[in-house]
Symmetry: none
Subunit: 143 residues, 2 copies
DNA sequence: ATCCCTGCAAAGACTTTGCAACGAT
DNA sequence: ATCGTTGCAAAGTCTTTGCAGGGAT
């Protein structure tokens, strides 16, 4: 089912703001903070405000359309909650992102974590950090 | 090695504030937010201020004495940490936390990701979500 | 036309910074 | 005596709330 249909069925309206927020999240493969969603979404809908971004992300999360995860440094990031899932690698220097799919290794780890802790684990979010090839070389040169 | 010795060796001082913070964390088996640490610790050291709690928790975290984990609702909670690299999992329902050890599986995944993307990866953030044993059972019973 | 949604401003929650006094070594 | 540490106040970051006008249905 399309997310616009879902909104309609739950009595919510489909607006330009909401389309812009959803498009922003769909256009990148990295989770975005609210302020980053705003920046992205304003390219399509310049009148958009940060408050609306927060409210829209809350709504989308309630409907299961996006997932809210924590980021080191104190703010939350939001990502589309597609059933198929991906992991992101973000360059700490230039922000370039690469996507990395498949997590057989993580499933094994989760299995072990469940055994060790007794928790029933139903989701995971892994983000790798480091330097992309270009930045790693540039930094090597300049010391 | 005792944490007070560790502080000394790294050039940090052992103070009443730091003892009060450490005792507060050790006295409970649930992770505490900074404000909760303050409340606890003031029973032993009434002059303690919130700023010092934050600074002390930061220091302890750098030294690997406490672990900072995220809690739904926007603030961080701190818990005493056993040495070594761990990941924390927090129960989505009651907030109880557990640690699990080792991430050989992640290292294998990182190796593969480096080969595939050309990134030089030097860190990872893994967040598991789920329910602790008690909450999983409670929810099962109530439907 | 209805009433949900939006943007602005302001408030709120959590955390960090500046600085002078204090205290562990 | 030295210099790391503390507490207060103030500032900063992230997020939520109040309200009147605007837009989807």
């Amino acid at each position: 089912m399309d997310w616009e249909d879902l909104l309609g069925r739950r009595g919510h309206r489909v607006t330009a703001s909401r389309r812009a927020v959803m498009t922003a999240l769909e256009s990148v493969d990295v989770p975005l903070a609210a302020a980053e969603v705003l920046e992205q979404a304003r390219t399509r809908h310049p009148r958009l405000g940060l408050v609306t971004v927060y409210r829209t992300l809350d709504l989308f999360q309630e409907l299961g359309l996006v997932r809210r995860v924590h980021r080191e440094g104190g703010c939350h990031v939001y990502t589309t909650a597609s059933p198929g899932h991906h992991h992101a690698i973000v360059c700490r220097h230039c922000g370039r992102a690469a996507e990395f799919t498949g997590c057989q290794e993580i499933h094994a780890l989760i299995q072990r974590a469940e055994d060790e802790t007794g928790f029933q684990i139903d989701g995971h979010m892994l983000q790798l950090s480091g330097l992309c090839h270009q930045c790693a070389r540039a930094i090597e040169r300049t010391g």
